[in-house]
Amino acid sequence: MSWAGPEDIFLSTSLASYLDKKLLVLLRDGRKLLGILRSFDQFANAVLEGACERVIVGDLYCDIPLGLYVIRGENVVLIGELDLEREELPPHMVRVSAAEIKREEFLSSISSMNMRICTTSFTSLKEEFLSSISSMNMRICTTSFTSLKAQKAERDATDLKGSMRKRMEFLDLD
């Protein structure tokens, strides 16, 4: 980003052509800030006037007012010029209050956390199951099929089923 003269700011990568315009700034943590660009430098540090954060959860959104913001350049992913002719968001999206969007955000974070717990538990469960199956097979193979051994294998399988059942109950899959 060079300090280009006024005659070629529109040809350069300088943010000068975005000054005093309404912009969307995407940050590295996924936040979306809207505001008017008042200043910037070569690191993409930026000053946004009348900034607000746009929180989007599913089809709901909310603009939370923040005020005058100085953004450290390293956090910037993208700075987009908003086309005032176009709708900022698709027509099916609904604006809600700050309290409501906070609640939705919380609920969606809970459900995604549950999903993660489930998938990790299932992965470890699967590995446990596969390893016990293979050790069971080994035992069955190495000892000739006496009814005693077969009974033991059956008992093992029942135990395994019981322990898996216990794990599943913890997950509360119903």
Partner: protein
């Protein structure tokens, strides 16, 4: 400076920039600088439904440090020229 020069030659061409956060944006390369910051025009997000907030963004500035890939037009590279430039750069010229 090789890649800076290379990208300067691509100005005006249609490229897709994929960012480290998986957002992919297609647009006309407007300009590039020594940090490989990129300005795109007539942008369109590849997965529009997933990024509704990008709907009204037509022109954008992308910080070079967050770019993962730049997908170029198939004829965007003159291999001979790039080889020569690479050797020159490696020699320190």
């Amino acid at each position: 400076m090789l890649f800076f020069s290379y990208f300067k030659d691509l100005v005006g061409r249609e490229v897709t920039v994929e960012l480290k956060n998986d957002l992919a944006i297609r647009g006309t390369l407007h300009s590039v600088d020594q940090y490989l910051n990129i300005k795109l025009e007539n942008t369109k997000v590849v997965d529009q439904d997933k990024y509704p907030h990008m709907l009204s963004v037509r022109n954008c500035f992308i910080r070079g440090s967050v770019v993962r890939y730049v997908q170029l037009p198939p004829d965007g590279v003159d291999v001979e020229l790039l080889h020569d430039a690479t050797r020159r750069e490696a020699r320190g010229g």
